[in-house]
Amino acid sequence: MSKFQPLASYRAGQTDDYKLLPLRFSELDADRYLLSNFVGEIHVLDKAVAREFFRHRLPSTSAHYAELKSKHFLLDEDSNVAIDLLALKTRTRLERVSQFTGLHLFVVTLRCEHSCPYCQVSRQNDDKTNFDMSVENSERSLDLVFKSPSPHIKIEFQGGEPLLNFRLIRHIVEGAEARNKIEKRNLDFVIATNLAVISNEILDYCRDHSIHISTSLDGPRDLHNKNRPRPGGDSYERATSGIDKVRAALGRDQISAVMTTTNSSLDRVKDIIDEYVSLSFDSIFLRPLSPYGFAVKTKWYDSYDNEKWLKFYFEGIDYIIDLNRKGVQFKETYASTVLTKMLTPFQPGYVDLMSPAGIGIGALLYNYDGAVYASDESRMLAEMGDNRFRLGTVSDEYETLISSDALLDPLEASFAASAPMCSTCAFEPYCGADPVYHHATQGDYVGRKPLSGFCNRNMSIFKGLITRMESDAYTRRLFTRWANR
């Protein structure tokens, strides 16, 4: 008799008796279900196999049994450490909520020298200085920023075109740095600018204060200049020469760019991506228009539907995958955010894809006029006359703002895990609540999901990404790398 025992003697669940751990499933396509659990683990099953699993009839010898056990979809007599690990992963996913507001947006001016018809922030002409933030209000805002307990503070300067009020940016940067000598947070600065008015003086300052630059680039010259008119029609020339200058002064990775999809972009996704590749960016953020500001007034927002945009998006994703296959390391930012939620235990801090919603607890916005809003979109809505997400003013106490009904009501109402249709949706762990969007489009924080463009668009993106990585090992590995950037 051997002193070693066989495998079977360590398999307690001989009887194929198992318990289901909390899980949800949604149809992935005609033949398959997507299973997910509340920490975001994914498993795709043929519908017939899934039914056997749900009925406790999946044999322990099945390959799926091992997968489902490993990913914490089932529990048998062999082991119960899954409970500890699920608890740990839940804490990890929610860690960001406990840290509270990390992103602080300062609208230092609403003035802009561009006149983009799709402008979602309703910019003002650049001679109207009453659309500038006052020094006094900027200081009150900074007081509020450092009331947030977050160990990471990112201050993002927004506009209009924030460089038109660069003196105030300097004032805020230096005020934040002075406060941070005592506060010792991880402090980052970003300026969201079209680069048209950037100067050597500004570049030197950004270098000396480690300020990151985020810019807009809609694609090739003709498309970009059509989307983004300015006096002289040279938005593209100024943006691209600005990118070169920023890289020379601050370093290659100190600038990133985002694009906005217009009707004219729809059949040009490869041109747009090629433009980014040739400017040696290593990522692109393929963004649809949002239902705010001039984009609504000019009807540009209505110029294409979700279906057209999704076709554009996935044509882009497939093209980017192909570029990677050919050795070009390049990724799509929105997909990367979603994939982080799918393939890692971590939660990225992207406001639209957070639940509880990212408003207020993920981001706060200090407007040029001293109003405090729950997010960037909240102030876009306010410029359209809807003050629903105005939390108060910079003269209010931090505690008053953060516990205002204007924030707590939408947070509570929209929490996806308990929202109708979201609560049973297998994609919920990857999605977000976005009460601002649903209020703007349906007059309700939750909204009816079958009518929600947000739901429809994201659901399609989730399915499209999962289908692609399920069917191709190369894509799966590429997506794993994007998820862990």
């Binding site: 002193k3 003697s9 360590y10 119960n80 450490v81 690990l85 992963k89 890692t344």
Partner: protein
């Protein structure tokens, strides 16, 4: 392969000299006098400077006179490798001689106990249920003698945590006497299911401590089978969680064999998803020693036959930004895709190359073999010729 121990050695032991049983060697005839009374001199060709506690007599005639009050041990030529800084033990009652520490070796391993609560199918150091607490006493005596420039030492077993508080004492001792030396402890981690025990190690605040802990499968019963201990998987995982809860560093060690290779990628996935905070993961080839020989039919798989699983597993961890290494794998049977992760890891006294390796252009970068691999190794070993490297 070096000879590290010898029984039946001739010893001249002067009990009145209070000679230490464990002492450091030197071959420097100018050694400062205050050090000589606690050290041993490596005596070659009859050179015997005065005042040393011990003389290690190499190839000397057994009737060479030893000056009072010194002691001496007579050693054959196989110990000619002994050098300054080496630490040895002489058991005068049983006439045993052991080299405990070799300064010039790259790896310094100390077995703390032979007892274990696992009975792994591939154990290279089959456990024995013996009272061996004296080993800890010896190591406590030895640590202060170790050269302070030693980069790293390794504690192994048996299962070191069975020593309980004595293991904590050892860690504290290495922190105190070896402030620049890393300490690696191989453990199955189960004892750390007691968070208070894990916490005692954190409280030592050792400057460079890492626990190497095995997980062999994402499937609990398969891990339990490989280590022959029911419930081990759950305890090991909980132990790792407690170590990390206390900010202690953890390495996961995965030995690849017929019982573990199939789900390597799934194991990587499990680690990336659940234990993403571990400090590194190491995949290791099978060592042909101990129980492995007895269980060869259950364990042997030619490494060439698990390369696809290994490549997937390594890539998944590396893509998840977890520090990953492959140990004990010969480059000629390792997929070049994971060469960047292959390390030369075999203890030098175990490390060898085969006749097939003659002419190989990458031998200097290759980990080679455990000397025990002569028993069995891959049938695909072949020299990599310079030309083939492009």
């Amino acid at each position: 392969m070096l000879n590290l121990r010898k029984s039946g050695v001739q010893v001249v032991y002067r009990t009145d000299a209070a000679s230490p049983r464990i002492f450091r060697l030197t071959d420097d005839p100018q050694r400062p006098k205050p050090l000589r009374k606690s050290e041993g001199f490596i005596s070659r060709n009859g050179v015997m400077p005065e005042g040393f506690a011990w003389y290690a007599m190499l190839n000397a005639s057994p009737d060479t006179p030893i000056p009072e009050p010194s002691s001496a041990v007579f050693l054959p030529d196989t110990f000619n490798y002994l050098a300054s800084g080496d630490i040895v033990r002489v058991d005068a009652e049983r006439n045993n001689f052991d080299v405990l520490f070799q300064k010039l070796a790259q790896h310094h391993t100390f077995l703390l106990t032979e007892r274990c609560n696992h009975f792994c199918l591939m154990c290279s150091q089959p456990p024995r249920n013996v009272q061996d607490g004296w080993i800890v006493d010896d190591i406590l005596a030895l640590i202060p003698l170790i050269e302070r420039t030693t980069p790293e030492i390794l504690f192994t077993g048996g299962e070191p945590t069975l020593l309980g508080a004595r293991l904590v004492e050892l860690v504290r001792h290495t922190k105190s006497y070896l402030p620049d030396t890393g300490l690696h402890i191989l453990s199955n981690g189960r004892a750390f299911i007691d968070n208070a025990f894990a916490q005692t190690f954190a409280e030592v605040a050792h400057h460079d401590l890492m626990f190497g802990i095995p997980i062999y499968s994402d499937q609990p019963e398969r891990h339990d089978y490989i280590v022959q201990a029911d419930g081990a998987f759950d305890e090991t995982v909980r132990g790792i969680l407690n170590l990390k809860r206390n900010n202690l560093r953890v390495e996961i060690r995965i030995v690849i064999h017929k019982q573990s290779y199939e789900r390597l990628a799934q194991l990587s996935q499990f680690i990336a998803r659940n234990l993403t905070f571990v400090d590194q993961v190491v995949f290791m080839g099978l060592e042909m020693t101990g129980f492995t020989k007895a269980n060869l039919d259950k364990l042997w798989i030619d490494p060439i036959d698990y390369q696809s699983q290994l490549v997937d597993a390594v890539n998944l961890l590396a893509d998840s930004r977890i520090h990953t290494s492959v140990y004990n794998h010969q480059l000629c049977i390792t997929d070049p895709a994971i060469w960047p992760y292959a390390r030369k890891s075999i203890s030098d006294w175990k490390n060898e190359y085969m006749s097939e390796c003659i002419g190989c252009a990458v031998r200097d970068n290759c980990g080679g073999f455990f000397s025990s691999a002569r028993f069995k190794y891959s049938s695909h070993i072949k020299p990599i010729l310079e030309k083939a490297l492009v």
